[in-house]
């Protein structure tokens, strides 16, 4: 079939909301866009474990400690689903991780900001997970089947994270003066970076039109950002705190909140590797990977031995546990 027909059939399927599956024909650029977007998203989940992981050992109550471990562990799971989704497009997880480690692949810049206070666990949940949900809910209907299915699982957990984060802030907001101050300070630091999570303004986002035609994207960056601002501007009142934007104001005519200009210099500066923690975050990932090399090698060596070791020919390789189990009885 000529390429043009393929493209036509493909676009018709997309238009009719039929999911594209791994073995279906797809334009090269569609595949590339998805690999870039999904792997970037996967990396964000994994790097995103670090700023919050910081506080697991210092969580101020056992309940908070348990929830935080569970949350960070969820993010690892999200990374896993997304790497698997990307692998269906013909790239390996090893290759994606290599690209992350050499700085070729990006991850969400938000995780390059530091988490100096406990309140950051609340602000991240409320604002960062909140912005992520805003971006991700439409992705549950993304045209690529494995991506959309991964996003459905992820979104369920993200909304849980957001509520937990908000609840952390709510507790602080009714606490001591020091706690209230901690709460406001975290909101002040996370607000603008969260707003930036939606990416550049529509007029400087050249790929948006194509992504929308392919139904990878459903809404523009600015549409999603506005929706996020509208929601947060109301929720912050429950906390009795302020969003750090003097221009934030309800606009009756537009039916939306107006907000002040975004500092895009800061945004690009962090994207390009000069944020407060870019170096630490990447170093931590690389270190974990390098420190774990001997473990991965040993696992492979052991699996290979099991395949070739004649002693094992009669025993299924999953027998340790059964052997262990019978010893335990």
């Amino acid at each position: 079939m000529p390429l043009q027909n393929h493209e036509e059939i493909f676009q018709k399927k997309v238009d009719r909301e039929v999911r594209i599956e791994p073995r279906d024909w797809m334009p090269d650029q569609y595949r590339k866009t998805l690999i870039r977007q999904i792997s970037q998203h996967a990396h964000s989940e994994i790097v995103g474990m670090l700023p919050e992981g910081n506080w697991i050992t210092r969580a101020p109550s056992l309940r908070r400690k348990a929830t935080l471990i569970a949350k960070v562990q969820d993010e690892a799971g999200h990374g896993l689903y997304l790497y698997s989704a990307a692998e269906t497009l013909g790239i390996t997880r090893d290759e994606m991780i290599r690209q992350l480690h050499v700085g070729k692949a990006k991850y969400s810049s938000i995780f390059n900001y530091p988490t100096p206070s406990w309140a950051d666990m609340g602000a991240i949940g409320w604002l960062v997970d909140g912005a992520a949900i805003m971006n991700q809910v439409p992705l549950c209907r993304a045209s690529y089947g494995p991506y959309s299915r991964a996003m459905i699982r992820i979104c369920k957990e993200e909304s849980f994270h957001q509520r937990q984060g908000f609840e952390i802030l709510l507790t602080l907001s009714t606490g001591s003066d020091a706690q209230r101050q901690m709460c406001q300070d975290a909101i002040d630091r996370w607000w603008w970076p969260s707003i930036m999570m939606f990416g550049p303004n529509d007029d400087s986002s050249p790929n948006t039109a194509q992504s929308m035609k392919w139904k990878i994207k459903r809404f523009t960056n600015d549409e999603l950002r506005q929706r996020f601002v509208d929601i947060c501007a109301e929720q912050v009142k429950i906390l009795g705190m302020n969003l750090p934007d003097p221009e934030l104001k309800w606009n009756q005519e537009r039916g939306h909140f107006d907000f002040g200009p975004i500092n895009w210099d800061e945004f690009w500066n962090v994207v390009n590797g000069n944020g407060p923690c870019n170096k630490e975050r990447l170093e931590a990932r690389v270190k974990a990977h390098e420190d774990g090399a001997w473990v991965r090698e040993a696992a492979v060596a052991y699996a290979n031995k099991r395949k070739t070791d004649p002693r094992q020919a009669t025993a299924p390789s999953s027998s340790h546990f059964e052997a262990g189990q019978s010893l335990l009885k």
């Binding site: 992981g53 109550s61 471990i69 960070v72 990374g79 009714t174 020091a178 335990l328």
Partner: protein, 261 residues
């Protein structure tokens, strides 16, 4: 001690014992959670975090019971966040540094097997709360043993490097295994009351299981006379590791006393 001891002494020993069980779980869970986000491979990062979560959950159940026994307004967090190191009753094994992945795995394995046989007894004990907490925990521990023993075997019988690392880990940790079976004063007391058996009772089974896995992992057996450790974590005598753990863990509660979090 007279047979007609006042009720508060026996409650006190049960209270100490409950804290001991809780502290073991909390400190090991805390140590494991230091790995979250830094594991050698994503799936195993998740697995170890999951074990950390199970252990913290078990610790909370025991602390909540301890709070009930004490009945003075103490909560699970009072015990975890407002006691000093010399009041912690965890065994030294669980507070040892993570070291490399191999040491962490081995520490988990040695402890999980101990916990398994211990809880098998506790599940049948005369204290109904402890029996029900341990019964539920046993399901989780069964998985912990499975996961950690598979890794002990894989790493022991993997590459030359992994074998050497496991050997080192074994060397480092075997110093702390005898303590598991040396009864603390409160263990002797509650054994006397028939709530719990003497831990010596499970020593042989523990050794049998551990040696079976070590054999499969092509690792040497633990020698019988490696008890060079003179401290007793169970009695509140700890290595410096615990001081560091607590100063980190308790930092917020100590810096902002009396706050809700």
């Amino acid at each position: 001690m007279t047979p007609n001891q006042p009720i508060n002494i026996s409650t006190n020993q049960l209270f100490n014992y409950t804290l001991h069980l809780a502290d073991n779980n909390l400190i090991l869970g805390h140590r494991n959670s230091e790995w979250t986000g830094h594991g050698p491979v994503l799936e195993q990062d998740i697995a170890l975090s999951n074990i950390a979560l199970d252990l913290v959950g078990q610790a909370r159940n025991f602390y909540q019971y301890a709070a009930q026994l004490k009945n003075d307004g103490s909560t699970e967090d009072t015990f975890a966040y407002l006691r000093d190191a010399n009041e912690f009753k965890n065994v030294l094994l669980v507070e040892q540094s993570n070291g490399d992945w191999g040491k962490t795995i081995l520490r988990q394995f040695l402890f999980s097997v101990y916990q398994y046989y211990l809880y098998q007894q506790l599940e049948k004990c005369s204290d109904r709360t402890i029996a029900s907490i341990t019964e539920k925990a046993l399901k989780e521990i069964t998985y912990h043993i499975r996961w950690s023993s598979e890794w002990v075997i894989r790493l022991g019988d993997g590459t030359i490097e992994s074998h050497a690392r496991m050997n080192n880990a074994l060397h480092e940790l075997s110093e702390f295994t005898d303590e598991l079976f040396i009864p603390a004063s409160y263990e002797i007391e509650i054994a006397r009351q028939g709530i719990m058996v003497d831990p010596v009772f499970i020593n042989a089974r523990w050794r049998e299981k551990v040696e079976a896995i070590l054999r499969e992992a092509t690792l040497p057996f633990l020698s019988e006379d490696n008890n060079k450790q003179s401290l007793s974590g169970k009695e509140g005598q700890h290595t410096e590791n615990l001081i560091h753990i607590l100063s980190e863990m308790q930092s917020l509660q100590r810096a902002y006393p009396g706050c809700e979090w």
